[in-house]
């Protein structure tokens, strides 16, 4: 739900921005980014064990806590 809400918001912003941009590369790159981020967010919301940045940081540096 949260991801879809922000997908809608991002698409509205994209529609506004794309009228001002002439280069098609920029328009499509942005759209691909919106879709990629939304897919990642959907997985993060619906899979409880989906990786978070903190998991990664603690996996890399967590051993320092035992010092």
């Amino acid at each position: 739900m949260l991801a879809l809400l922000f997908l809608a918001y991002a698409l509205v912003e994209w529609f506004i921005a794309k009228n001002k941009v002439k280069a098609p590369r920029e328009k499509w790159t942005m759209l691909v980014l919106i879709v990629a981020f939304t897919i990642w967010n959907l997985f993060a919301l619906y899979f409880h064990e989906w990786l978070t940045p903190n998991h990664l940081i603690i996996w890399l540096f967590g051993w320092l806590d035992r010092l």
């Binding site: 918001y9 942005m30 981020f37 990642w40 993060a44 989906w50 940045p53 903190n54 940081i57 603690i58």
Partner: protein
């Protein structure tokens, strides 16, 4: 944009004050207890070293943000992965900010409200603040600065009224220096986020006074932290104090008279600086993402997707708040933050081997009009 000499100082203070005020006191009371003052001061002193390197990097080209000239120093192949790392750090930091704030609000004021709703509202506020642009954020910090400073002064005046000053002697008689050094590094991770100020150009340009301004901002945050730490310690003692998740809120609630009822006002002020902190981080990650994909006119959608991703990360953390708080206060996390804060040193070393691409010409004097003969 209209610039004044102390604008960087005010912005730096409002940005740096947000997180330590909310989340630094309890961890310090856990480890260094009575020697917390030493940890805070040593943490600040060490942060000045990193600030010096940051200013040196910023001065390499004061008219451009580090994002743009960094590739001239270390090549595109090294600069872009670092930009990506800064982006991930910033998005994760926004997620932690939002979850930390939501956890505080949910446990103290809105217990019946579903957490996802508070996350959404906080996330929207932060995203919309970022959407207003950096210029507006700088002006907001100008206004917030004086109110926050007055609030800190008044708050501590009331807090120290009922403090047990007989405990103060323990601040010099304890010799638990091992924990103090570890806590000093923990404080350093909070105080030394200077790298974010490299994103202020061209709105606020670095000059020879920037070190003074940012060091003064850090010093003011340090003094504020010292006062808040001391008031917590002298009111609750180290054992009860460290068990409290939000000792300052408990202090306000325990106070009588005006201060006892003023916690919404103080929380409002702290929330504003938290929002500004997160909004500036959204601006940073949006700039990084724009740089990575060469998007020059897509600020709106970039801010929207970064805001959304940060809220989703905050939601993930909200599923296991105990683990989140454990990770947030862990030494491993502090070391990761310190490594991020070391990035300017790497660029400074690279700048020693690079010549500046261009020199700014001194401004020419306007020619005097010759009188007609």
């Amino acid at each position: 944009m209209r610039n004044t000499p102390w604008q960087l100082f005010r912005f730096g203070f409002v940005y740096l004050n947000a997180i330590p005020t909310g989340f630094l006191i309890s961890p310090i009371l856990w480890n260094s207890a009575y020697l917390g003052w030493a940890s805070i001061l040593v943490g600040y002193a060490m942060s000045l070293i990193l600030l010096w390197f940051t200013i040196k990097v910023g001065l390499w080209d004061p008219h451009k943000p580090w994002l743009d000239f960094g590739s001239q120093l270390v090549s595109k192949w090294i600069h872009f992965p670092i930009v990506f790392l800064v982006m991930v750090w910033a998005i994760n930091y926004i997620g932690m900010d939002i979850e930390g704030f939501t956890l505080f609000f949910d446990t103290n004021y809105m217990r019946e409200t579903p957490q996802w709703f508070v996350l959404l509202i906080v996330g929207m506020v932060v995203t919309i603040t970022a959407r207003w642009g950096l210029e507006t954020m700088i002006y907001i910090s100008d206004g917030l600065f004086i109110v926050i400073v007055i609030a800190i002064v008044f708050m501590n005046m009331f807090f120290f009224k009922e403090a047990h000053f007989d405990m103060a002697i323990a601040m010099v008689r304890h010799h638990n220096y091992g924990s103090t050094m570890k806590d000093a590094l923990f404080c350093l991770s909070f105080f030394a986020e200077w790298i974010v100020f490299l994103f202020l150009a061209p709105y606020l340009k670095f000059d020879r006074r920037s070190f003074r301004n940012l060091a003064a901002a850090g010093l003011l945050v340090t003094i504020g932290m010292l006062l808040q730490w001391a008031s917590t310690l002298l009111n609750f003692g180290p054992y009860l104090g460290r068990e409290l998740q939000y000792p300052l809120v408990e202090l306000m609630r325990a106070a009588s008279g005006f201060l006892g009822n003023s916690d919404p006002l103080m929380i409002g002020l702290w929330s504003s600086s938290m929002f500004l902190h997160s909004a500036f981080l959204i601006h940073i990650s949006a700039r990084c993402l724009a740089k990575l994909f060469q998007l020059n006119h897509m600020d709106g959608p970039l801010i929207a997707i970064i805001g959304g991703t940060a809220i989703v990360i905050a939601y993930q953390y909200s599923q296991n708040p105990i683990r989140f708080m454990g990770d947030f206060n862990s030494f491993g996390m502090a070391v990761f933050f310190i490594l991020m804060e070391f990035i300017p040193i790497f660029y400074w070393i690279a700048s020693l081997f690079r010549r500046r691409g261009h020199k700014h010409k001194p401004r020419q004097k306007p020619r005097q009009k010759q009188k007609p003969a």
